[in-house]
């Protein structure tokens, strides 16, 4: 007679969400089998370092492991999930094997959007999403004098900052009117633009890419401002595409992201989803959103893991992300909806601290090198404290006292 198969929870994806789910399952006492299917050949690692210390060469990949060695997880490395059969609760793997599951977590993240202009196939054109991408850019930076960054978002600006720190000539071409337009208001975009220009980055906004030229490797980039850039390498930071195909073909509800409820459950009761690939209602945005951030991946996956175990809970964290560029640590907490009143606390040009107020409560805040103060704002937001613009702007008032 066969021994009964232990209860098996399968996690598809070896990023921050997958790792956080595995950790949470074990922390909550799950003693069945946890299998993690990782398309990359690496165990989960700390991804924010890819656009910073990995590029600088100040950290090695093996220093960035997310899960401790002794963690009871069966890793399937370098293997992709190809199909899900929700009826028989099986995942088919790229090597032909299949895994049966009691619960399945989809945390496959996304892939970097690729350029499509003529010449995009040339060597020396990079994207940054994985450790291997980061290592390739690190190696290419060592041999380059001039780097073109396509896209003035977080990835592009962080790479630009590192490339400048390494003494490279850096051009950033952003097709839109301002930097990081999707996630911060104009005041922060302007601050970032000033900072990068002051650090010697040639930032061009309203500047699209027309085509690349070169024999085998990229040599020139034609830009929509009419200029031609001689370049040694290019990095495209033009966003990500969520890996929703697996969910879609399994018949799960997908709408620019796998749609989940407050427990991170998909439209199938045994399948959950978390991380960049997931669309969920957010109390702070007041609608359903797909958040692409480190913190969201970790928090959402912890919720998903508890959901898989059938534990009751409510997600209460406030959306939060950071970006490290040059000597700046910029943190964005909550949201800055159009129409919010912006209160500048401290009025510092070098380290702005903006608080966004809607109907007398704080909707969000953006701080540069102001983590300690931001923490106080977070407490006010969590408590729903009613505040006035005058109080928030008054530096003689300790924010803690407004609770």
């Amino acid at each position: 007679m066969n021994a009964p198969r232990p209860e098996t929870y399968v996690i598809v994806g070896g990023g921050h969400a997958g790792a956080s789910a595995a950790r949470t399952l074990r922390a909550e006492g799950f003693d069945g089998r946890v299998v993690m299917v990782c398309a990359e050949r690496h165990r989960p690692y700390e991804r924010p370092a890819l656009s910073k210390s990995i590029l600088l060469g100040s950290k090695r990949l093996d220093e960035l492991a997310l899960l401790p060695d002794g963690m009871d997880v069966d890793f399937e490395l370098g293997v992709a999930a190809r199909a899900i059969n929700p009826a028989s609760r099986k995942v088919t793997l790229s090597d032909g094997r299949f895994l049966e599951y009691e619960r399945l977590l989809l945390a496959p993240g996304g892939r970097a959007r690729e350029l499509s202009v003529p010449g995009s196939h040339l060597d020396g054109i990079h994207v940054l999403r994985t450790a291997d991408d980061g290592l390739a850019i690190h190696a290419a930076l060592a041999k380059s004098r001039t780097v073109l960054i396509v896209g003035g978002g977080w990835i592009g600006l962080e790479i630009a900052a590192v490339a400048r720190q390494l003494g490279r000539n850096v051009v950033v071409a952003e097709a839109g009117a301002r930097l990081c337009a999707r996630s911060v208001p104009p005041s922060t975009s302007e601050f970032l633009l000033r900072k990068h220009r002051a650090e010697g980055v040639d930032v061009r906004v309203d500047c699209a890419l027309s085509k690349f030229e070169g024999d085998t490797a990229v040599r020139r980039a034609h830009l929509s401002d009419g200029s031609v850039c001689e370049v040694d390498m290019v990095v495209a930071g033009i966003g990500m595409v969520p890996n929703t195909e697996l969910a879609q073909s399994a018949g799960l509800a997908v709408d620019d992201g796998i749609v989940v409820d407050s427990h991170c459950r998909t439209s199938d009761q045994y399948i959950f989803a978390a991380g960049d690939v997931t669309r969920q209602f957010c109390e702070w945005h007041r609608h359903s959103v797909r958040l692409e951030s480190w913190n969201n991946a970790i928090q959402q996956a912890a919720v998903a893991a508890r959901g898989m175990l059938g534990l009751a809970q409510r997600r209460a964290d406030i959306p939060w992300f950071w970006s490290d560029q040059f000597d700046l640590n910029l943190q964005v907490l909550g949201v800055a909806p159009p129409g919010a009143i912006r209160v500048s606390r401290g009025m510092s040009a070098q380290a702005p601290f903006d608080i966004f107020v809607v109907d007398g409560t704080i909707a969000g805040a953006i701080a540069v090198n102001g983590a300690r103060e931001l923490r106080k704002v977070k407490a006010l937001m969590a408590a729903g404290s009613v505040v006035t613009e005058r109080q928030l702007a008054d530096m003689s008032i300790d924010l803690q006292t407004l609770r």
Binding site: E46, A65, L67, P68, I298, W322, A371, R372, R375
Partner: protein
């Protein structure tokens, strides 16, 4: 032999607020929770940041940059980072806080 260095008076450590000091080349963060004092290496193991600029809630110190959390009693990492932070023995005598970083 451990060499004890005076870092501050107990009264200089308000409950709930970490403070940074230096003993020789070693940056340390000193905390006081429920009357007991603790010392740890001040640099977060996750990315370069000073824990003394972070937040203290109960026995948990949180890095201001990316939210790594450690228990001040044993340096154990609770969130984000994977490496514990080193802790150092503390002695309080006559209202003064002494820390040794030389003890193996």
């Amino acid at each position: 032999m451990s060499e004890w260095s005076r870092v501050c008076a107990v009264g200089d450590l308000p409950d709930g607020e970490p403070k940074g000091f230096r003993i020789g080349d070693v940056p340390i963060v000193v905390t006081r929770v429920d009357g007991a004092c603790y010392a740890a290496h001040d640099i977060c193991t996750h990315a370069y940041a000073l824990l003394s600029e972070g937040f203290l809630e109960g026995h948990v110190i949180e890095c201001p940059l990316h939210g790594a959390k450690y228990d001040v009693r044993d340096g154990k990492c609770i969130a984000v980072a994977n490496t514990d932070v080193k802790t150092y023995p503390v002695q309080v005598e006559a209202g003064e806080v002494y820390v040794t970083v030389t003890d193996a």
